[in-house]
């Protein structure tokens, strides 16, 4: 950081900083000629590829332009987004509960969580989605009541849950198992002393978790969860197994089956997926910044470091800023 400011001020239009001795610092930034040559070569290849793609008839760009904002496609894109958001929300909530259960001292919770993970991570999500689709065949009615007694309420499964909801349930329950492991790793990454300090202050286990441990584990949790969201966006294309066929990929495929233009329609779908992924990545960037508080990455208190970093400019004052704590040491009278 300090090296950057220094060379920056030299390279910029500001006059070179001068010390009291009168010796100016003249720095030349390290150059990277090979790096630049590579960049140029890659750019050339990319340009050739784009130029070629633009003219290649198989891509059928006019068709891409025609279908990109086609009503059916944009509706399917929204449904894909809804599937992603709902199943992620449920998946994360359930995943956190499972992770906390797995780490709790209660052996019943521990085993339950372990069993859940064993089942849902051990079977393919496509199979799980198929199973949810067959739910009303296996369990024609949903009975509410106590085990081995006559149910209070009996409802036909097909009336209670539609295919969209079944798709969300299928995706969410599978996702929860993966989120649980991510959250568990995050919780375990927090220094044990943190829990100890919170407990010693009289905080309850729940307060310790929610106020001290989970916020700190966020830094470790967010990147892989961001990964999971993006992965979920694309996994939604598997809900045809339910069968639910109104999301982006299946919709594009169905249209292309009628029009016999599969390539432009898959391009259209890809463009939508890419657009959503880009938005999600931006969201992740801001979340990561938010939870980096106090960890020494992006800090509001930059003044101090800048002052010490720019020693050659002023010379006298900025220096002992940081040591002022030492002067205070005898603070108590």
């Amino acid at each position: 950081m300090s090296a950057e400011t220094r060379s920056g001020s030299v390279a910029g239009s500001a006059p070179p900083p001068t010390d009291d001795d009168g010796t100016a610092i003249r720095a030349v930034k390290l150059r990277h000629p090979i790096r630049n040559i590579f960049a140029v070569i890659i750019l050339l290849f990319a340009a050739a590829f784009v130029y070629d793609a633009a003219l290649r008839p198989a891509y059928n760009w006019p068709a891409v332009a025609k279908y990109i904002f086609d009503r059916r496609i944009s509706e399917a894109a929204v449904i894909t987004l809804e599937l992603t958001v709902y199943s992620m929300l449920i998946g994360v909530a359930l995943g956190v509960v499972l992770a906390v259960m797995r780490l709790s001292p209660n052996p019943v919770f521990k085993s339950l969580s372990w069993f859940y993970l064993w089942v849902f991570r051990g079977t393919p999500v496509y199979v799980q989605l198929t199973f949810w689709g067959l739910l009303s065949v296996i369990y024609p009615t949903i009975d509410i009541g106590l085990p081995f007694l006559n149910p209070f309420i009996t409802l036909p499964t097909g009336d209670v849950l539609n295919v969209f909801q079944l798709a969300v349930i299928g995706l969410a329950l599978n996702e929860a198992a993966y989120i649980a492991e991510i959250v568990r790793a995050g919780i375990l990454s927090v220094d044990h002393g943190q829990e100890e300090a919170a407990t010693a202050l009289g905080m309850s286990w729940f307060q310790t978790m929610s106020r001290v441990i989970i916020p700190q584990s966020m830094r470790v949790i967010i990147p892989p969860v961001g990964n999971e969201v993006i992965s979920m966006l694309k996994t939604t294309s598997l809900v045809t197994a339910v069968p639910f066929s109104f999301e982006l990929f299946t919709r594009s495929r169905d249209i292309s089956a009628e029009t016999f233009t599969p390539i432009p329609l898959f391009l259209v779908a890809s463009i939508w997926y890419l657009a959503f992924t880009s938005i999600l990545m931006i969201g992740q960037y801001f979340l990561e910044k938010r939870f980096a508080r106090g960890i020494g990455v992006a800090q509001p208190e930059k003044k101090v470091t800048v002052a010490t970093g720019a020693v050659p400019v002023v010379g006298d004052e900025g220096d002992d800023d940081q040591k002022s704590g030492g002067v205070h040491s005898g603070g108590t009278p």
């Binding site: 300090a197 202050l201 009289g202 106090g294 030492g326 040491s329």
Partner: protein
């Protein structure tokens, strides 16, 4: 008689598996007394401190703080372990300061201090902040209220940690090697805060290797080795002429 005693350990024992860490420790700390606990590494000093606020449970013997049995309820000669909520209630009156500070890194100095009063005591926020600022001033860090721990020196962090413990208005403070992780030039500022606290009448148990502090501030000194109290008494006397061979050899290494 017991109402002048803050801590009363009666044949306290603790094992981790087959490892007997505390073997029948008996000692008392009076109200307002400062006791220094010294001994070689692995002698069970930290474990004993952690038993006092029930971060660790004792296997045998009785441990009382302010007349109240720690972590257990006695019903006709049988001890019943307390529920976590009841144990937490006992802990809020006992402050603890750790060797590695253990400040919450995602909170500013002030937020660290007001967290427990807000959540545990449900103190109104304005009042908690006012008290927090007073405490920061008391440890000489009024200007660091909004700094994150990562931006404070070790000595400053430990002073914030002391303020955090004091914010719960404890009747007893436990210090586990509070200066061992500090650069030598930062030790003084932390000891100064502790001296001030002792002067104000706080009851303190301090695990430390700072014999100067023990000599100057402590009312009693306990030397532990291998899970037993080897020697105890007036710190100046024990340090000047230790009676026990093990005390002598230990002191010759740290002094």
């Amino acid at each position: 008689m017991t109402d002048t005693l803050m801590v009363e350990a009666d044949r306290v024992s603790k094992s981790f598996g087959s490892n007997k860490v505390l073997k029948s420790i008996s000692l008392t700390v009076k109200r307002g007394e400062v006791m220094c606990l010294v001994g070689p590494s692995g002698s069970g000093k930290s474990t004993f401190l952690r038993c006092i606020n029930h971060l660790e449970s004792v296997d045998a013997g009785r441990l009382r703080v302010d007349g109240e049995l720690v972590g257990y309820r006695e019903k006709g000669h049988i001890l019943h372990e307390l529920k976590p909520r009841e144990a937490a209630l006992q802990r809020r009156d006992i402050g603890m300061v750790f060797q590695r500070f253990n400040l919450f890194p995602h909170m500013t100095a002030l937020e660290n201090i007001i967290e427990a009063p807000l959540r545990v005591k449900r103190m109104p926020k304005a009042k908690a902040i006012e008290r927090g600022m007073d405490l920061l001033a008391q440890v000489g860090l009024a200007d660091k209220a909004d700094s994150y721990p990562a931006h404070l020196s070790g000595g400053q962090q430990q002073r914030v940690a002391i303020a955090r413990a004091l914010a719960m208005d404890p009747k007893l403070m436990l210090f586990d090697e509070p200066t061992s992780a500090l650069d030598p030039e930062l030790v003084g500022e932390v000891l100064d805060v502790m001296k001030q606290l002792a002067k104000e009448g706080m009851t303190m148990i301090v695990v430390t290797h700072e014999m100067g502090f023990a000599r100057e501030v402590a009312d009693s000194l306990v030397f532990m080795d291998g899970g037993v109290v080897v020697e105890s008494g007036d710190p100046r006397e024990v340090l000047a002429n230790p009676k026990h061979e093990r005390t002598k050899s230990f002191l010759s290494k740290v002094l």
